[in-house]
Amino acid sequence: MAYKNYCLVCAGTGCHANTGEEIYQELVKKARDLGVEKDVQVVKTGCFGFCEKGPIVKILPEEAFYVHVKPSDAEELIKEHIIKGRMVNRLLYKEDDKKTDTQGKIDDIKFYQKQLRIVLRNCGFINPEDIEEYIGREGYQALAKALTDMTPDQIVEEIKKSGLRGRGGAGFPTWMKWNFSKQSSSDVKYVVCNADEGDPGAYMDRSTIEGDPHSIIEAMTIAAKAIGASQGFVYIRAEYQLAVQRLEIATKQAREYGVLGKDIFGTGFDFDLEIRLGAGAFVCGEETALLASIEGERGIPKPRPPFPAVKGLWGKPTVINNVETYACVPMIILKGGEWFASIGTEKSKGTKVFALTGKIKNSGLVEVPMGTTLRDIIFAIGGGIKDGKKFKAVQTGGPSGGVLTTEKLDTPIDFDNLVAAGSMMGSGGMIVMDEEDCIVDIVRFYLDFSVDESCGKCSPCRIGGRKILNILDKIAEGKGEMDDIKKIKEISEAMKRSSLCALGQTTPNPALSLINFFYDELLAHIQDKKCPAGKCKNLLSFSIVRNTCIGCGLCAKKCPVNAITAEDCEPLPGKKKPPFVIDGKKCIKCGECIAACKFKSVVKL
């Protein structure tokens, strides 16, 4: 027999350390003492996020979310909630800024969840390889509505009302692209999906296609109806094997069921799509380069205008949108543009998916309404920084973006706010850094990436990126001069103004955020020749603290270059053996000695 209630006690590291275990024990004991152990099962669960509000207890099926619970609260929870069926109001989660009276109304108390899943609505529910499960969750209903009840103008109007902006990075209004293509007269038009996701650490698009491939097919068909196209292409990275495979299965099933192909739903409307595999060049995520690649040309950007919406694939009007943008479309058509526009901020509507990675406890995919703060994403959903370290910064927007510091934690995230804060939305990668990450090192990584991926067509990008990277390398080696800062700024300015495409225009962004937001750390590298985070090897030296070294020699055994030897002296008072020393000339700063020493006697200086 199943239980009446389930009492979930957070056993994540944060709550566990903070009396979580005692609360669990108390709840089990009280349930037994009060004779209800057959009615309630007490269970330990994984981290709920919200660690600063811990310890957390959640009771099902009411979904009551109790915060700051103490072991002494166990009796009241069992007596009131389990036995009498009344929620314990004083412990229920309440929004900090809203003094709402929760009075046990179930709908209100569920609001502790910060996520809202529109794009990822089916991930975790349906089998992506079964079209009927997609249909079972309102799939292709939006297409039916668009084909039978709506004119192309009405479709574009609905998208306009929704305020949907392109999720690929720049945030261009989707309806405008569709409208340009609709208004361009041409015998042939195309719909293209950009699934060439390339930012390091970003994988929202891959997961969306893997989990819900039909939503993309449905949205592209709706876009085709809106602009009058009958052929589509999905441009996806060849490395995304599983996504490609699921998309192939999905298009095959869609054809079998007749939601792709000729005369869809008997309306006389034809549409089909092909999958094109990209070979992994980052620049092919840029729309003109992507279209060139589909045409079989080298993937290099072309000057705009003409924009693809007017003159795109093989010179024909082409709508090109990102995976996540398309994934929103069926819900907008089905629930209405106004519904979508009711979510988010004034100028950025709907939700955004972020791939939360780096030094964060609960790394993963999160989808939140636009306007959610970085603090909520990192601390409430992400559970904060791993291993109790301090938050230093978060990188958004990939190689084109910037680094945001603690001061920006309470900025509501939307397209415009992120740009104002010196970064950008980008595709949605969010890499969290802690106090041990060196910002010069991270910025070098991004510059290195962009330099590798520059297609080489225009010189500002090809030469400028390389020059900035060389300067950063010099700084990391301890040979930086104050003049270098000025040089980075000058090169950046030139790249921003004269590069052909967004890749070159945005390559300097990480370097500029280094200068704008981490000036002190940069100065430490240039003037003091020190790396405060202890990452830049040339600016470090390793040393053994004489007083605490017991002379065991473990570090010397581990040292791969024999740089550590026993000092030629008598043992220090109270020690049996003489201390060891590191020869700075031989040391390669690999850190093996630090890992080996059990007495923390090896230190970085």
Binding site: T45, G46, L116, R117, I135, G136, R137, S207, Y257
Partner: protein
């Protein structure tokens, strides 16, 4: 098969929706394994096989084991959702083959949640609101 009409589409939706959301006591239990790239990389295929094997050994027949996409909990994959009559719709994390066998014994047969592996739902379902 022949091409769908609007009526067919609605029929499939209604039937499938009922099948996917049913919770009646005599109806089947669903085990849904997150099998995106992340899940598979963390061993979701072994988890999937372990469910099939353990259910087979225990002679439990009214269980459907199926795959789904990534639920977004990359740090604690593989993820599994279990929907059983009279039990909460539950998401389990870090479901190794061993934990999968425990889920069959404890959750599906024993009607108890499996300690230490229950995880919170990421959000409300916008399609059932």
């Amino acid at each position: 098969m022949s091409k769908l009409t609007l009526a067919d589409l609605k029929k499939i939706r209604d039937e499938k929706n009922k099948e996917m959301t049913r919770r009646d006591a005599d109806k089947e239990i669903q085990v849904v394994v997150g099998m995106g790239t992340c899940g598979i990389a963390s061993g979701a295929k072994e988890t999937f096989s372990a469910f099939i094997d353990e259910l087979d050994k225990s002679h439990v027949n009214d269980v459907v084991v199926k795959q789904t996409g990534c639920m977004g909990f990359c740090s604690v994959e593989p993820t599994v959702r279990v929907i059983a009559p009279e039990m909460p719709d539950t998401i389990y994390n870090k479901v190794s083959a061993e934990v999968a066998r425990r889920i069959v014994k404890e959750h599906i047969i024993g009607r108890k949640l499996v300690d230490d592996h229950v995880f919170d739902h990421p959000s409300r379902d916008i399609l059932t609101q």
